[in-house]
């Protein structure tokens, strides 16, 4: 109750004209925010169907808590907290820390519900509930997993965080278990097996709860697997729907209300190739409650060799809008038809309203791996704007606004047996899963980016008597200027880059912006940084135990603002850069690039929390 009063006071102090709404929201939020204290009471309070939907959306409005992986359904990762400002952030100090007990790459972020902080480590996926009063571990749970998942996980053994709803923590394990744990006790309420590592599938994405649905995606299976998104029943963990990325309309959950072409999940493939069409769904999910639409992107088409899969390969590399209740597709927008560069389309969709010709338009902003920032009308998928968010992008000169298709640079098209040099961006894209933040004060998107180019010799399969082999090789190296990453500010009004903070390594962790005018992010060489959102000017930094590829979040406890981040280097960039990325002129194997990143950091998972 003390907490409730405090939260109300804070909102009253901070929200100005939104006082009334804030008051109501916060009351609901605080009321819900006590699961850790009384499990029986919580279950009784929250098992009421649509009531919990309203509660979760309302909870996400309370800046004192952080109840969804990306803070809110719009995925803004923008907090209205203002205690930490551009003026005082230089006094930020470590408040408390703890080991995650895992050493692989940590890509997620904690949640704070009431006075409990929840987080999940990298594999073996330790899940913790920590008391924010005295930092004791209220409960800890580690699922028993199929160890084969470790062998098939592509790009380190990461996890992108837990979700919360209805008194439950929803967590994904690498081997595809989706677990609902009682938020108060850690007891397993249900367990759903979403994929099968024996088939090359794993799960790394953070679930999203929308109403009574738990939305979960799948990673894995470069060939032999067809990607899908799954909607589970929040109460029971039973599968309600599964929407494949390829195949007949009935598999893709395309019905008469779909605005795009029908049966393209089959017709844009040769023969039966759609059955191994890829299009996995391992990114972030967002939701517009007003339109009742769920948004997410799909990954690369199955077979690595593009000449083996002629056609547009729909619906790989696609932004989908679906009804969360049924999974029914409403619209789809394919960014990179017939991918030849591995530009997965899974990055997050951030939902904001912009002014266009004097009209307020609900848009979806997406920074794709292919180097273009897209703005789509999120009601119908109409393309409104697409610009390069890294000037080095050269595989396409632009996006055709009428068709939405990239205007390809023929010199950068990969083809079997030909070594194509200096394609920008590299396969990792100008941005991967690391989520951006939208700052309403400046109107900027603060975007963590990669800045690598590649030489790409596409698959030419040959036979040396008795031994098949591929001539393919992708060699990645730093882009123009020599930096491998940057954090940028991008203006959605016209899609121009406002400022650029260069980084030595890809900025593989996410960004948090706050109403204190401060943006936070971490770097792979192990710095946690605060910058001025308006200018990108550095304000503060702290050297953490291991490189950061995770996402900062903020919350309050007893009236004080805290900023939290997981450190623990790894991920695709971590492995790739630590071991494989060589200088452009260096021959393969000539440089042990492992010494590069390892000069700055070492493996190991920790939670770090800062305050003034």
């Amino acid at each position: 109750m003390k907490r409730q009063a405090l939260a109300v006071a804070l909102v009253a102090a901070l929200s100005g004209s939104a006082l009334v709404g804030g008051f109501a929201v916060t009351r609901a939020g605080a009321h819900q925010a006590q699961p850790a204290q009384s499990s029986a009471q919580t279950v009784a309070q929250t098992r009421t169907g649509t009531h919990s939907q309203l509660s979760l959306a309302a909870l996400s409005e309370d800046p004192n808590q952080w109840v969804m992986p990306s803070l809110n359904y719009a995925n803004t990762r923008h907090s209205t907290l203002t205690q930490i400002t551009t003026q005082n952030v230089s006094g930020l100090k470590a408040a408390w820390t703890m080991s995650t007990g895992a050493t692989r790459g940590h890509e997620g972020q904690p949640l704070v519900i009431g006075d409990t902080l929840y987080f999940e480590s990298a594999y073996p996926n330790h899940i913790f509930a920590v008391d924010l009063g005295d930092y004791h571990i209220r409960w800890q749970y580690t699922p028993k997993e199929d160890p084969f998942a470790v062998s098939v996980a592509c790009c380190d053994l990461v996890n992108r965080g837990v979700a919360y709803a209805d008194g439950k923590i929803i967590a994904a394990a690498l081997d595809g278990q989706i677990l609902a744990l009682d938020a108060a006790t850690g007891r397993v309420v249900w367990n759903f097996k979403n994929d099968d590592p024996e088939r090359g599938q794993t799960t790394t994405a953070a679930p999203l709860v929308v109403g009574n649905r738990v939305i979960v995606g799948v990673s894995g299976g470069e060939f032999g697997v067809r990607g899908y998104l799954t909607g589970l029943d929040l109460a029971t963990g039973h599968m309600v729907w599964r929407a494949f990325s390829e195949g007949p309309d009935s598999d893709v959950l395309i019905g008469s209300n779909f605005s795009g072409p029908h049966n393209a999940g089959v017709s844009t493939w040769q023969g039966d190739q759609w059955k191994v069409g890829g299009g996995t769904t391992w990114g972030w999910y967002s939701y517009d409650p007003k339109l009742d639409l769920l948004y997410y992107g799909t990954g690369n088409p199955g077979t690595w060799n593009p000449s083996q899969r002629p056609g547009d390969n729909k619906w790989s590399m696609t932004i989908f809008a679906r009804k969360p209740e049924t999974g029914a597709a409403v619209w789809a927008f394919q960014m990179t038809p017939h991918d030849k560069w591995d530009y997965d389309g899974i990055n997050e969709m951030i939902l904001v309203d912009v002014q266009r010709n004097g009209e307020t338009v609900p848009v979806l902003v997406h920074f794709d791996r292919n180097g273009f920032g897209y703005e789509l009308d999120r009601r119908n998928g109409k393309l409104l704007l697409a610009t390069k968010f890294d000037p080095s992008v050269n595989w396409a000169s632009g996006i055709d606004m009428a068709t939405g298709r990239p205007i390809l640079n023929p010199a950068k098209a990969t083809m079997a047996g030909v070594n194509v040099h200096n394609i920008c961006p590299a396969a990792m894209g100008n941005k991967d899963q690391q989520p951006a933040s939208y700052d309403p004060q400046t109107g900027y998107f603060i975007v963590p980016t990669n800045h690598n180019c590649m030489d790409y010799k596409a698959f030419s399969v040959k036979y040396k008597s008795g031994f098949p082999f591929v001539g393919a090789i992708v060699k990645m190296y730093p882009g123009p200027g020599g930096n491998r990453g940057a954090v940028i500010a991008w203006d959605p009004a016209d899609g121009h880059i406002v400022w650029t903070d260069k980084e030595r390594f890809p900025a593989w962790g996410g960004v948090l912006t706050t109403d204190g005018g401060v943006a936070f992010y971490g770097t792979m060489d192990g710095w946690f940084k605060a910058i001025d959102t308006k200018t990108g000017a550095p304000l503060w930094k702290f050297k953490v135990p291991s490189g950061i590829i995770a996402n900062p979040m903020t919350y309050t406890h007893d009236g004080k603002q805290y900023v939290a981040i997981l450190s623990g280097v790894g991920g695709w960039a971590g492995i790739g850069l630590a071991a494989g990325l060589t200088e452009p002129t260096a021959g393969l194997g000539a440089v042990n690039a492992a010494s590069d990143l390892s000069q700055y950091t070492t493996l190991g998972g920790d939670l770090l929390v800062f305050s003034l």
Binding site: F148, V150, S151, V152, A153, C154, C155, D156, E198, R199, G200, S219, G220, G221, E222, F223, G224, V225, Q270, G271, D272, Q273, V276, T280, T303, W304, Q308, D342, A416, G417, A426, A427, M428, M454, F459, S460, V461, K462, Y463, K464, S465, G466, F467, P468, F469, V470, A472, I473, V474, K475, M476, W572, I575, G576, A579, G580, L588, G589, N592, A594
Partner: protein, 278 residues
């Protein structure tokens, strides 16, 4: 380990990888009633003049299914021109009409649907108890690795700077060499672990129960996509779609017989997804 190997489901997955059947085109130059097969007279376990290789047995099974007599055209695959030279002297010279065992995605030939999928593998003594599951397994860093040159194994070792401590084998270039030699090197301790194409050594593993075999999963952990599993097919001249289509029908109707022949030669069959990554 059985979970990673073929089960009844592998065929469907392999077929799912295939292109649509090619349209019928030019008539094949085959003599009526005879299937002319290009083969190596001395490259066990693939092919031998005695007819002992698995390609020979696959050819006989296909010929039987087509109701045609099989005639082998013998030439070394490991001469100066390598496999391309072999094709030039045999298939392209129209001295024979089909090659029984090539990667499905090979350029410049008309290929059938794949009739099996196998993989590069790690082979090491059971007694060593290594923990090796992929090219990224840390334990590899301290080991002496034997590999076949000009293969994905070489690329994978280069990408990880493991190549400098590794020992190359050139069995696919040397007409006198046997794929068993890399196994001998493991058994004699000259190398700790071998990375090679499983169908080349499965036949010789049958008498070497002291060795462990682990599939190398496809990877892109180094940025570059690395493929270690390959669907394998039969091939005809690029314009001989008629014969390729007839062979496709045989593969579809006689898959279990072909699978049985491969199994008898110790060829481990992998579902494509067994070795998938990401």
């Amino acid at each position: 380990m059985s979970g990673r190997f073929a089960r009844s489901g592998w065929l469907a997955a392999a077929l799912a990888l295939t292109l649509a059947a090619p349209p019928s085109g030019a008539a094949s130059g085959v003599q009526q009633g005879v299937l002319r097969v290009c083969a190596d007279p001395d490259y066990m376990p693939f092919s031998a003049r005695s007819g002992d290789g698995f390609e020979n047995h696959v050819a006989l099974a296909v010929g039987h299914a087509l109701g045609e007599r099989v005639r082998f055209t013998w030439d070394t695959e490991r001469g100066r021109g390598g496999f391309d030279g072999f094709l030039r002297e045999t298939l392209r010279a129209k001295r024979c009409d089909v090659v029984m065992d090539v990667p499905y995605a090979i350029d410049g030939l008309a290929v059938t649907h794949p009739y099996y999928v196998s993989s590069y593998v790690f082979v090491y003594p059971r007694a060593k108890h290594y923990d090796i599951t992929s090219m990224d397994s840390p334990e590899l860093r301290g080991l002496r690795i034997g590999f076949e040159t000009d293969t994905p194994a070489e690329t994978g070792l280069k990408l990880r700077t493991l190549i400098t401590h590794a020992k190359p084998f050139e069995i696919g270039d040397d007409p006198g060499a046997s794929p068993a030699e890399i196994l001998d090197a493991v058994e004699q301790g000259r190398i700790d672990v071998a990375v090679t194409w499983e169908p080349s050594i499965g036949y010789f593993l049958r008498s070497r129960h002291n060795l462990v075999v682990v599939a190398v999963p496809n990877a892109r952990s180094q940025g570059s996509p690395e493929q270690y599993a390959f669907p394998m097919a039969m091939a005809t001249r690029p314009d001989d779609h008629t014969l390729a289509a007839r062979l496709d029908e045989v593969i579809a109707s006689h898959q279990s017989e072909l699978t049985g022949i491969l199994a008898a030669y110790g060829v481990r069959l992998y579902r494509p997804s067994d070795v998938a990554s990401r």
